[in-house]
Symmetry: D2
Subunit: 151 residues, 4 copies
């Protein structure tokens, strides 16, 4: 395992508003959408470190989810403003594990973890490149402007 | 425009059951899902003529939707068994138009049309190949077994 | 038809970033997601006028989409920052029509229109209440702060 | 814990075909969709025992997912015919746990588990009614006809 810096360094926040189509007939956010929220949060985690995941995929570096765990505590609802607090909690030569806390203000709605493996365009496992490893152990760029768009 | 055979020849039926996650807090199927149902119906329309759209995409032939029109008449609900009746209604050198009627038994829930353009991997318009044109003007294969899976 | 103010008054902008899960194997945003973007833009259009659509639904006022038209011009891609420019273009006693222009900077990617009918919890048509009509013909509140979250 | 019959009794199979919109730009099924497949499988599990989950929800009995675990082994692809093998593996006074194996013929693509809590319309925990408990420990009805639709 690669040693990680203090959790607050490798933590970022992603804000989003619950969309109408993300609810179901119970009137709450459908549980599959939390994986979508976590993914969006992960993408922003990278953007805040100057990295476009899109450019990685274009260069043949992919990080598919290989396992996921979710604990649903309280339901989110339409129009809720949520914040996903995302932390790198484990890093090996071929995989990285993120932990997520989906919050509505101070209330924890869902806790999740996903492990992502590093693969090429052929979907075969490959070693995480050194520069990617560096990203996963780094903090937000000072210059990362607060984004107006909610990505 | 390429002449088309009688509508019943270029018509096929796709059956599906409404999934829980396809509903929204109004308790009905979210309107965006009808485009998904039409797409699944279109894929089955091809399968019933012996064609895997997947193999087309693998060979660099894509048919992205370039316009869509939907008229929602009555709501579909969770667990409804629906049938999408799909007909080719127009065929040009570069595009094909499908019409869909989403039915619950004899009740029409939604009418839709989509026009699909023929493009390559570069997403540039290209002429519909002759063998593809032949498919769009043909009826179901006699040998197309009734599918156990609902796709 | 209810007379409408100048288009710029009844126009608002919604920013969003394309999520990974919104792409398909063509590498572009799946066409059904544009209905989702338009819906999110509509919800924000209301928020910018001080209205929570969520509170309307809680009070038995719903605005289901009864028809939709979409013209796809150019594909959006993963991580694109998009802006949906949304305008009320028609208002009757029971329905309202919105027009949307999905932009990537100055490039128009998709044009759409949806007509929404006013219904109660029983999904039966009802007259648009006067205070709701007033909202549909009004401009953004001066006090509507630019939102940090991407709703 | 309520004792369970032999696993094969409380096991059922759900077949589905991967939809185009369920893929992402990696060309494989997006990982959030497996929760959707499991849910559809669970609904069919009930249908095969003569129960409509829709009627339960209409009568104020809901079974929201309170935790989920997924292990992704191999990717599913567009048009794949999948089978979800679903088993009740744990039953308490207020919750039920399902295990899923998403298969493409003999190949295991994904293993998952979800725990569902019994709640009312107010989303508060309540004891699983005796007749519902009976369902969770029963086998398929002899009369459950093979379904034409793929739900």
């Amino acid at each position: 395992m690669t040693p990680l810096p203090a959790p607050e360094v490798v933590t970022s926040r992603h804000r989003l508003r619950v969309r109408f189509c993300e609810t179901d007939l119970m009137g709450i956010v459908h549980h599959a959408n939390y994986l979508v929220y976590c993914e969006a949060a992960r993408v922003e985690w990278l953007l805040l470190r100057g990295v476009s995941y899109e450019s990685w995929t274009r260069h043949g570096l992919h990080l598919p989810v290989v396992d996921a765990t979710l604990r649903y505590k309280l339901p989110a609802r339409f129009e809720d403003e949520l914040e996903v607090v995302t932390t790198v909690v484990e890093l090996s030569r071929v995989a990285v594990r993120f932990r997520y806390r989906v919050m509505r203000k101070a209330t924890l709605l869902c806790e999740a973890e996903t492990r992502l493996a590093c693969v090429g365009d052929d979907l075969r496992l490959k070693r995480i490149p050194a520069e990617v490893e560096r990203i996963f152990t780094s903090g937000e760029l000072a210059s990362a402007a607060p984004r107006a768009a909610g990505a």
